[in-house]
Structure formats: structure tokens, C-alpha cells
Symmetry: C2
Amino acid sequence: MTTISYEAVPTVEGDVAAAPGNTLVMKFGGTSVGDTQKIRDVARRLVTAREAGQRVVGVLSAMGDTTDDLIRLAHEMSPKPHPREYDMLVSVGERISNALCAMAIRDLGHEAVSLTGSQAGIVTDTFHGKAKIVEVRARRLHAELDRDQIVLVAGFQGVSTELEVTTLGRGGSDATAVALASALGGACEIYTDVEGVFTADPRVVAGALKLPKVSYEEMLEMAATGARVMMARSVEIARRYGVPLHVRSAFGDSEGTWITKEENLVLEKAIISGVTHDTSEAKATVLAVPDRPGIAARIFRALADAGVNIDMIVQNVSAEGATDISFTLPKTDLPAAEPILEMLAAEIGAKGVVYDPDVAKVSLIGAGMKSHPGVAADMFEALGEAGINIEIISTSSIRVSCVVRATEVERAVQAVHDRFRGYAEERVGA
Amino acid sequence: MTTISYEAVPTVEGDVAAAPGNTLVMKFGGTSVGDTQKIRDVARRLVTAREAGQRVVGVLSAMGDTTDDLIRLAHEMSPKPHPREYDMLVSVGERISNALCAMAIRDLGHEAVSLTGSQAGIVTDTFHGKAKIVEVRARRLHAELDRDQIVLVAGFQGVSTELEVTTLGRGGSDATAVALASALGGACEIYTDVEGVFTADPRVVAGALKLPKVSYEEMLEMAATGARVMMARSVEIARRYGVPLHVRSAFGDSEGTWITKEENLVLEKAIISGVTHDTSEAKATVLAVPDRPGIAARIFRALADAGVNIDMIVQNVSAEGATDISFTLPKTDLPAAEPILEMLAAEIGAKGVVYDPDVAKVSLIGAGMKSHPGVAADMFEALGEAGINIEIISTSSIRVSCVVRATEVERAVQAVHDRFRGYAEERVGA
């Protein structure tokens, strides 16, 4: 079984010459292709780019609820659908939307061809339902583009090294688009239902601003801390291969947000890129853990082996030979984590485990904070002045995250955003 | 472009050893796989055959209305959907039903794998929407069967010699099943919503009987003259490669009708196999055609070039240097045929063309009639005694067809069936 991932090791197809630089991969999400009228709009957009002289590749998600309907069918059929057959089933949704779009483009007088993931050379590993892209064999893509075709590629799917149909799991269509852009040497536009990346969620924070640019690293931190516009997965591929990403609205023509290399940003102004929040996690605390080497490793190894995703971990200094260890984890992982933690607590002689699902995480992200001391202190001050208690703190070189009560999350985001509003306005040029 | 058809020239894959003889291909039509419960029933049937020691291949049509829904989407998208993209679109229906069935089989504790037409090695010519099978590359099929898998193959589709997804047009799933049976050296069962092949349409004729056996040739004539249970296309493949076909009900366990070689029938008893009827055709008559060589050829060549399917042609002996030429054609071909005929009539100096859509064809089929003179006379007599006028007669060695008024067709079928009822009962052993 192949375990090398395109997302880990660059692979370049030896027999394909470097592509011309004016290739554009345009990806459209499910809400942008909800019905035939919307697919016609997407077709027009692709044709406009072609007429502007670009070599155009479209990647369309499945129409609206198609994939959900297929998943429902699978679960109606079987309590535990076989992964290979599941992929055979759910991969048809993208094939439908891309074939329809090719028809619409031809009606507009342009040449178009829709390709399955397999025909487009998207080679993946063998993990059905969550395959990773291993390689893009771009020979046919180049041939079709050379024949002046607008090429449509079914996102979210590929063919495994064992020649089976695979799907790429969450964020798979974005991953397809970015991988194609890297293989073809072009930029990648992600058309979505928001206008770009904002300094905070505009539904929550008054005064949130659209960012013209963010760095890959900032976007990764924002994605990891609750921003939903892009998943870390495709940003990571773009970062590794230097693919310029443009996140923009499918329902208008205004510029969105470019995700790009840090050197392209004016860093003096780039102190913060945004405030994110996440209410999907819970907090667990193992009480009075005996202070012996290897105890923390034992807890988190057991959780990792059970597939539990741990986020923040805090351990205070030991007092009287015992300490509390707190961490956050997705609420959906609680059922898997609880029996393991109860067992471990008994084994290691801890006092017990307490769970708290009513927490939220507020994060401040900014590539520039590396060279600006005091950013974290400013954030804590803003929360303190708003009367909001901080339960856990964790930091990276470009991020500060605080766990607060879930009931206070909106006030917390607003307070932090207000505090850094001047920087945000400076950054977006407002 | 490849024009060799599997339906014309046998191709045998050189590197595949002859298959064991106990392979069974089981094909299920759209009504047999209408929902997940019915697919579960199909899965049980496949498993039962596997447990009886057969190497089992299932070919499922698309669920109920899936393909119709996709066709509607295509026409909503485009007034004239591009044929290649149309095939990409409509071929997904079979992929869904076969993947679901594989899941259900696995839940029953057996191994199963669903294959696309391409994965199953169904190679076709390049005529999108109506491709013909050129070759079956059975290597993967053999490999999966050797691994004790129940193999499910998406019917109605293949991969062209230019590596594009193709669909096989009407009767395509049956063609897939029979071609697979020929490549794997097994029998083919067609599960459908009727119990087999009857001596006449049981909805029309009182006393119609289910035939235990018919010859390929009889079935071809019955299909060509209105019997809907099997299309001529797949019977023709079965005949060429000697595949035993078993047409039977998907909703019961009783034996259906075997379609087989003539020598397997007891011919003394096989005078007739059935009475068929067809109300889908119209009659056209070109009046007072000048009696010159080449005139008929000119008419029918022009119609053939326009894709009009001509069935019966009758030309009476010439009187006074001119003759009427009558023929039948599908009513749906009338719009294409009419302008051609008007133009030709003027060019060749005929008196005009008259059309009659209110006709029906009644046919009597029987491999045994070759050695039983008088069968045609018996049929005409039966119609005459019922007061039914015969407008056109045409015969082959195993068929007599009469065109009558459409309003009289049911009485005509009943009269002919009553006349030959004794032979029919003898044949079915009643």
C-alpha cells in the first residue's frame, strides 16, 4: 500500500513539459452549482476566463444535496456501507455536475470536456473515503488544454494506486483544485458563498473586514481555530507548492482574498489577520495526576491510538506531587475518549476526570505578531476589560488562543476584534 | 474509428484461459431494483446462486427513475446535450445501483465488488449514446471471480476504444449481460417483470401460455414483431455465441423461458412459438410508381440515409406501367420520412404518397412452420373467419405477418391464437 502523499512529498511527472503560466483552475462549491441555472452561470464564468486568454480548468462540486442523498441511500442499504462501494457510489455526484457544465459551455460556443478524477490523472492512496492525493498525472489535462478545451474535472475523487475509485473526504474538492493548479503551474480560484477571508466572522462581529491578502501560515492557523472558508488541507498543499489561492464569491465579481506567500505581505502592517472562534470543542481535565515521568505521554498516546484529536493541552506546575492536566477535543470525540480516560485515571492513580462541553475558543492570528511583543497581553487585557474569564491559554508564533465560556464567545470575539481594529483597518487599507 | 462490432465479429481474449463452466450472469431490470429493499432481494438471489456453487456475475440496471431524472437534467441544461457528456452523465445510474447491491451482499456475509463498464472490460465502439460492444476484456472479471467475489457490473455502459465512457443505448443492460456470459462461458438469466415468453401477450389474449423454451431464431422474430420481453439485440449476441438465456420473473422462483438452440427443441411439437402484435408502426404507400428499374432502390436508399427504419415492403405486380409500393415504418419516423417521400414522389413521377397511422401488425412465429405447409393459410383463414381484412402480408421461413386495422388488433391476435391453441398447448406440454 502506498503511503507517500502528494501532500507530503512532491511528485512531478517527468514526461510533461512545464505548462504555460496562464493556467487558471476555478473551483465551485456545492451552493454555486445548486441547479442547472447556477451551473449555466458557472459555465459563463469559465468561458469569460477562457476568452480572456487563460487556459481554464473548472472543478465543480456535486449539485446541492446530491451527495447527501447518495449517502442516505448508502445508509438505507447497509448499516456500515463497505468503503470501496461507498466511494463508487458517492463519487457520481461530481460527475453529474461537471458533465452538465460541459454541455452548457458547448452551448456557449466553446469546446469543453468533463473528466472523472481518474481520467484527470488524480492518483490517490488506497484509503477509501479519505484518500490523499499521491500524484497528478497531467498528460491528458495538458493534451485537452492544448486542444483549446475548457477542462472540467470531477472534484473530491481520484483513482487509487490499486486502480479503484476513491474519494478524498472533507475538503476534497478544494484539494483537487489546488493539486491541479500545482501540477499545471497556475493559480487557483475558490468560488464560494462568502466574499473572502474576514478579520472575524461578519455574522458575529460588527466591523469585521475583508482581507485582501493573508499568508498561507495565517490561513492555516485561522482554519485550525475555526475559520470555515478554507480547510487547512488545501491551504497546506498550496503553501507547499506555492500555488496562489484566491477565495472569492461565486455570486459577484468583486475581488476576494488572496492567500499567498508571507513575503508578498507588507509585514509592518500585518500585525493581525483576524480573530477566529470555535465552539465545536469540549474541555476535559484529569484531576490530581501523580507527578511522575511518562504519565502525560501515556494519556495522550492512548487517546491518539483511539483516533481522538487533541487540540490545546495545559499542564500547570506540580503542587504536592500531583497536577491537573486539561485539554480540548472535538465534542464528537467525547464518546470515544471517555472510557479511555476513566480507565487511565484509575490506572495512574488520578482523582478523576471532569468534562466541560460549554467552552469556546477565541484565537487571534497574525504573521506580524512575531515581531510585535505585547500582542498576547493586549488580547488578555481586552478580554479582562470585558469581564471575560480565560480558562486555558495556548500560543504559537503567529497565534494566541484562549478558552472561554461558550456563552461569552460572541462578546469575546467582538472585544478582541475591537481592540485590534486599528491594525485590521491598517492592514486592509481602510 | 473502430467499426468492428462484437455483435458482428467474435473476439476472444488470447490471454484468458477458458472459464469454468459454472458461471452464471444474472441481469436485473429497472423495476427489479426500484428501491433499497428490492436491491436487498436481488442481493439475496445472487448470494443463493453463489451458495449453490455458481461463479456469479450480477448486472443491475439503474434504479427506477434515476436514468430518466438524469436525462431530464441534461435537457434542462442544454437543448441538445453533447453526446460524450450525455454518456458521462447518464452512465452514473447503474453505478449507483450496483454499488448499493455490493454493500448489501457484504452485509449478507459474502464478498462482492462492483465494477464500472470500463473496469469490467466492456470495450465499445465510439458511437456515444448507442455504442456497440466490440470486445470483453475479461481479465479482471476472472481475477475477481477466482477470489470468490460476487462481481457486479454496471450495465448499459462501457469504455470506447478512445477511452471515453459510452452508453449502449436501448437494451444495453441486456447486451452487457449476454456479452459477459459469452466472454465468461456461462449462462445468462434475465430477471424481469414478466414470467417469461408467452405464446401471445397475456394482457390481450385469453389462454396465452408461457413457453418453456424458444429458439434464438423464434425469439428474434418475436422481438422484431412486437414481443417486448427481450430486444433482438441481445438475443442476437446470445445466438451468435451460443449463450443459453433464461428469461424469468424477478418476483418469484418459478422457471421462466429458456432461449436456446433450435436443436434443443422437439421440433415436431414446435410448430408455433407465439402470436405477437405491434401497434407502433404506420403504413405509407407511394401511388402509381412508374415501372422502371432502380426506382424502389432509390426510395429506400433515401429513407435509409435519413435513418428511417423500414419494416415490411410490398410491391404488387405492375399494372399499366405503374405500381403502388407500400411499406411500414415506426410512427416516430414519419416526420423524417414525409418530406423525403414527397420530394421523391415528385422526382420519379409517382402520383403521390398516402399515410395511414391506424394500422397494426399481427405475426405468427414458429421454427416448425418450415416443415408444416399450410400454416400461413390457416392464419389467413382464422382472420377471415373473424371478419378481419388483411392489408399487407409478409413472410419469412419461420414467420407470417399481416397488417390489419389498429382497431381490430386484439380480436386478430385472439383469433390467430385460438386457431393455433392446440399446437401451443402441445408445445408447452399443457
